[in-house]
């Protein structure tokens, strides 16, 4: 009973919040509803009894959207609306609509089939995290490692792009020696 109420509440809220994310012209509303929607999605995992995945969703997306915020902060004035340049593009509309339809069909398909079976069912008395870990490190070890390597590549690329001036202090002006500056100021007088 509680689960049904919670499910429909979370569904309505998630869809509503993501609609705001797409429709809103204010970057603050868009980002905030995105973050709130991501947090609410973790509620579905909790309803399903997948506590570990729910918490991971919470931690990962709270951090990820926080990083998005910092970009928004650099590029937009958060308190004003943004004038969007919307040129009508029928092809993009068609492709976007089609891919959305395909996604809905992919995820809705299994609901109708009665033959759904868990390939890796939960073990009684074993925690959620352990079960996920066992499947991840046996059956899905290769994709897991590939993902890890890709993240490592991304990290190294990020460090190289950002690290050119890392040995210089951002807060200290190294071009002018402090003593020289005083002298030049005295000379100017």
């Amino acid at each position: 009973m509680y689960e049904v109420i919670a499910f429909y509440l979370f569904s309505a809220l998630t869809i509503g919040l993501f609609l705001i994310t797409v429709m809103s012209k204010n970057v603050l509303y868009a980002m905030t509803s995105l973050a709130a929607g991501m947090v609410l999605i973790s509620g579905f995992f909790f309803i399903l009894g997948a506590d570990f995945l729910g918490v991971v969703q919470l931690i990962v997306y709270v951090g990820a959207v926080m990083a998005l915020y910092s970009f928004a902060m650099m590029f937009f004035d958060a308190t004003r609306d943004i004038k969007e340049k919307n040129t009508p593009a029928p092809l993009i509309f068609l492709l976007g609509g089609l891919s959305a339809l395909v996604l809905v069909l992919i995820f809705a398909g299994p609901i109708h089939s009665e033959a759904i079976q868990a390939l890796y069912p939960m073990h009684e008395g074993v925690g959620n995290a352990q079960d996920v870990g066992i499947v991840l490190f046996t059956k899905y070890l290769v994709p897991f490692e590939v993902a890890a390597v890709m993240l490592l590549v991304a990290m190294i690329a990020g460090i190289i792009l950002a690290g050119k001036k890392m040995d210089q202090s951002l807060t200290k002006d190294t071009t002018v020696d402090a003593e020289d500056e005083i002298l030049t100021q005295k000379d100017a007088k």
């Binding site: 509303y29 506590d51 951090g63």
Partner: protein, 350 residues
């Protein structure tokens, strides 16, 4: 080093009475009421402790030893005008303090607060209800609490961005920096004790250290303990790392435009987070509430010690700059935490 893995920990929990929905409701109300009160009282203790460390008296005029100062402060906060500045994003501005306070209390739902008890039978309606120690005993409690506290930083972030004030924007930017700095250290530092215990549940942590002081995880994981404390200071934005609202640099940072109870809610959230971090540190590293019969007293003493430590550090240490915080977290603490995790893994394997 002999490392034991703890597998048969469920035996402790099984003979407890069943947790009902009413019990959880009562627990939630108790947490809300008591922690709010302690958070208010915490401001008084903070001012007194700081005052004594600086050889002055602190609040003395309202009530004996200034004890009623927090009542006066409460009246002031509640009756102040609630201002929303011009050009601010009204909705987000009003929402932000609620996020801070709410997430702080949601995080408290998954940590053990006060011992469990059964309400006596003679009380009408709710008599005989068992009130659990943890409101929501998740088996991934630690991750949930850390995730919820991380979500709490959306309060300062949104507040700073919504208020159309340059100090606020700087405060919000510093929030993002601080979050992206400490979060990795928190996770990695607490990973080593999690590996030792083999569980993410606070109850398992408590039971794993049940054998007295020599079984405390701090002796096996001193490095992780220190790293977690440092990251915890950044997480609750306490003094060496209180960049978000550092008065000398950014007026009041994210809280510049706030007044009255909305401002107060940020601080209730901050003090509730201090209590949460203290409880996590006490349960994960200092043996929790497991001493036979006196567990409730020792956990209060441990939490009190960590709370005092935060005030002590505030009196003793200067602030750091944002770039120093990033340097500390990414170049010093994170490598140490990774090495600690690797060494723990090797020791467990051998």
């Amino acid at each position: 080093m002999e490392v034991t893995t703890y597998t048969n920990v469920e035996t402790f929990v099984t003979h407890l009475p069943e947790v009902t929905a009413v019990g959880v409701w009562i627990k939630a109300i108790i947490i809300l009421a008591v922690i709010s009160a302690i958070a208010g009282f915490g401001t008084y203790i903070e001012r007194k402790v700081l005052a004594f460390m600086q050889r002055r008296l602190g609040p003395m005029h309202v009530g004996p030893y200034g004890l009623l100062q927090l009542v006066a402060d409460g009246i002031k906060l509640f009756t102040k005008e609630d201002i929303v500045p011009q050009n601010a994003n009204r909705l987000i501005f009003m929402l932000a303090p609620i996020i801070t306070a709410a997430t702080a209390f949601i995080a408290l739902a998954a940590v053990p607060v006060f011992p469990d008890f059964t309400i006596p039978e003679w009380i009408p309606v709710i008599g005989g209800t068992f009130v659990p120690s943890i409101a929501a005993d998740l088996n991934v409690g630690i991750l949930f609490v850390l995730g919820m506290m991380a979500a709490g930083l959306y309060g300062p972030l949104l507040a700073g961005m919504a208020q159309a004030n340059k100090w606020g924007i700087i405060g919000a930017a510093r929030t993002a920096i601080q979050f992206l700095s400490y979060e990795v250290v928190t996770g990695l530092s607490i990973l080593a004790p999690i590996m030792l215990v083999g569980s993410l549940s606070f109850v398992d942590f408590n039971n794993a250290q049940a054998g007295g002081i020599s079984h405390w995880l701090i002796w096996q994981q001193p490095v992780a303990f220190v790293l977690f404390l440092i990251a915890g200071f950044a997480e609750t934005n306490r003094t060496p790392f209180d960049l978000l609202e550092h008065e000398a640099e950014v007026v009041s940072g994210y809280a510049t435009e706030y007044s009255g109870m909305r401002w107060g809610m940020f601080f209730i959230g901050e003090y509730a987070n201090m209590i949460t971090i203290s409880i996590i540190a006490a349960v994960v590293f200092l043996g929790g509430y497991s001493e036979g019969g006196l567990g409730w007293l020792t956990i209060i003493l441990k939490v009190g010690f960590f709370f005092f430590l935060m005030l002590w550090v505030r009196a003793a240490w200067p602030h750091v700059r944002p770039d120093q915080l990033m340097w500390l977290c990414w170049k010093v603490l994170m490598p140490i935490a990774v090495i600690n995790v690797v060494i723990t893994g090797i020791v467990m394997m051998v």
